[in-house]
């Protein structure tokens, strides 16, 4: 139903636009009634809290009582705070590794599923399951596997490095977080890539193989360029999600051992119990700016390379 109505409609709507503009020279009052409620609650519950938070980041507010302006002192203190620097280092590094791991696996699986295989629908259904389960619960399950099953298995086969839980190892705990985060986010990326792959006309592959192109060459010269837009969407959304990582860490390591896996989100939340409210608001503001910058950077880089979005 959708396709039959939308396909011929798109150009028609565009042609009709000027006529419509003339007819409704001024929007009816009810049009505002449709839009304003959404704007209002959105402003109250999202925009104002964000602005208030940014405002307090320039003060010494502790969450209650009096406060006075500090200017940029909170921000200056952030730069010299080793705990904060570690949290940013961990979060950025973790996001980068996870986005690469998840995208590569998702793309490989999507290509595999797009081939002529048995039980394609059933396999796809299984691969998407992680999308519908709660991240914290999954993290608890993996917590058991990493701290009990994996060491027991390593002991049985005599593989020394893994005989104690990797969650207790400051150098390896982040790997567990990468594994569980990727496990959870691969399905979303997989579905986007599946949609991208089906949009590639198959005669492109036929023509190129007549010219003698092998599978790898076809992947590099046809598949990859044509799904570049989908790769971009996936990495932007992926990195944004990974930067805010929280649930998985709570379920696996709680930020430990020590502060080895403490993410930026966790340090911000510490501000509510730790009494350094204004300081953590400055942290949150910096975090927001970094998130936006990374997204914009990705967009600019891709524009420069003529990737269509």
């Amino acid at each position: 139903m959708t396709t039959t109505t939308t396909a011929p409609a798109a150009p028609a709507a565009r042609v009709a636009a000027p006529a419509r503009r003339r007819r409704h020279g001024r929007p009816e009052p009810i049009a505002y009634l449709f839009l304003v409620p959404a704007l209002l609650v959105f402003t109250v519950f999202v925009v104002i809290p964000a602005l208030v938070g940014i405002f307090y980041s320039f003060t010494d507010y502790v969450g209650f009582g009096d406060w006075s302006f500090l200017g940029l002192r909170n921000y200056a203190a952030l730069l010299g705070d080793p705990g904060i620097r570690e949290a940013y280092g961990f979060t950025l590094g973790f996001s980068l590794v996870t986005v690469v791991v998840a995208q590569v696996i998702a793309l490989v699986l999507a290509i595999g599923l797009s081939k002529r295989i048995r039980f394609a629908a059933g396999l796809r259904a299984i691969f998407v399951i992680p999308m519908v389960v709660s991240g914290i619960v999954v993290a608890y399950v993996f917590n058991y596997l990493f701290s009990n099953t994996l060491p027991a298995f390593a002991t049985a086969v005599g593989f020394d490095p893994l005989t104690s839980s990797i969650l207790g190892n400051p150098d390896l705990a982040w790997l567990a977080i990468v594994v569980v985060s990727a496990w959870q986010t691969i399905p979303g990326a997989l579905l986007v890539y599946t949609a991208g792959l089906t949009s590639i006309p198959s005669d492109l592959y036929e023509a190129s193989s007549l010219d003698g192109a092998g599978p790898w060459r076809q992947f590099r010269s046809i598949t990859l360029p044509l799904i570049a837009g989908f790769v971009l969407i996936n990495t932007i959304l992926g990195i944004k999600g990974y930067l805010g990582v929280y649930d998985v860490i709570v379920g696996l390591t709680g930020g430990g051992p020590g502060n080895a896996t403490s993410s930026v989100a966790m340090t911000i939340f510490g501000g509510f119990t730790g009494g350094d409210y204004a300081y953590q608001m400055a942290n949150a503001t910096v975090f927001f700016v970094i998130t936006v910058l990374i997204s914009v950077l990705q967009l600019v880089v891709s524009r420069g390379r003529n990737i269509r979005l």
Binding site: A9, F45, V46, L113, Y140, L145, G214, Y246, F287, F288
Partner: protein
């Protein structure tokens, strides 16, 4: 492998998959090696679920042994009764359902109305800028406003499941408006103009013509809103001040401290938390996947 039949080259293990493209006559042939490889990959998804299932039916003695893949012996379903009581399952489950349902309802209502107004009056600056205003929040992660949000909800008496539902809906708004407006742009304006000539009001046009046409996108937006709300831990754990009103994912944390070694009870609880969505998903699988795909691609 199919490739070796025509070319005596070695090392063409990956080739057979693509062979169907080369020879349309063989298009019917399905690749077994690739199927097996993908099936093995799917074990990474199935294994944790299998462990959850078997652990839930073990005795507490067997559950501490560490061999998560062993079958339960003896079979012990008593863990469920204990988990049911500890998590106050009926209460936390109902709260989770309520929060998710309210999130979906609020998201659909606010974003469909707003998107319709935005698309139909796109030529007006106010509507165009509202779109940009709402969409800008796509890049705003929740941790950034979490602290002020906690204060705001405490101040307004919304430090409860109702507040969680409102905030969940707010964080779905940008994405939902994006999906709805992309879809609405493809609906021809003539459809509603003929209705207007017959004397329909804007509200009637929206309710009788636009909303039915939005059907598939309503499903997509609804699925995304439901999953985001149902599975969330961060926001309710911050906002809800009364522990007896917590949602299902958050109450699972009791097993991290007090009942440290009763893994069987913990896993029975995890299973009860995971099973509802997995079962619903498996029943409506095709529908859910097409809904999610539509959303993911439109974004």
């Amino acid at each position: 492998m199919t490739a070796t039949a025509t070319t005596p080259l070695q090392g063409s293990v990956t080739a057979p998959v693509d062979d169907r493209r080369r020879r349309p006559g063989r298009a019917r042939r399905r690749s077994w090696p690739l199927t097996v490889a993908l099936a093995l990959c799917s074990l990474t998804v199935l294994a944790p679920l299998y462990v959850t299932l078997t652990m839930a039916f073990k005795t507490s003695e067997q559950s501490v042994e560490g061999n998560a893949f062993a079958l339960p012996a003896p079979f012990n379903p008593a863990s469920f009764a204990e988990a049911w009581q500890l998590t106050r399952f009926p209460v936390s489950f109902s709260i989770s359902v309520g929060v998710a349902a309210l999130t979906v309802a609020l998201t659909l209502l606010l974003s469909s109305l707003a998107s319709y107004a935005i698309v139909r009056y796109w030529s007006h600056r106010f509507f165009r800028w509202s779109f940009v205003y709402l969409l800008a929040s796509m890049f705003l992660p929740f941790p950034v406003i979490a602290l002020t949000e906690i204060k705001l909800t405490a101040l307004t008496g919304l430090d409860n499941p109702l507040g969680v539902a409102i905030l969940h809906a707010m964080f779905q708004l940008a994405f939902s408006v994006l999906l709805f407006s992309a879809y609405l742009r493809s609906i021809p304006v003539e459809l509603e103009e003929s209705a207007r000539i017959d004397g329909a009001t804007t509200w009637q046009v929206f309710w009788r013509i636009i909303l039915p046409l939005l059907g598939p996108m309503i499903a997509t937006v609804g699925i995304f809103a439901f999953l985001a709300s149902w599975n969330d831990f961060m926001l309710p754990s911050m906002i809800v001040s009364d522990p007896t009103l917590q949602v299902l994912p958050v109450v699972q944390n009791i097993f991290q401290s007090q009942f440290g070694t009763n893994y069987n009870v913990a896993f029975a609880s995890y299973l009860m938390a995971m099973a509802p969505t997995i079962v619903v998903y498996l029943i409506a699988q095709r529908w859910v996947i097409s809904g999610i795909t539509q959303g993911a691609v439109k974004s």
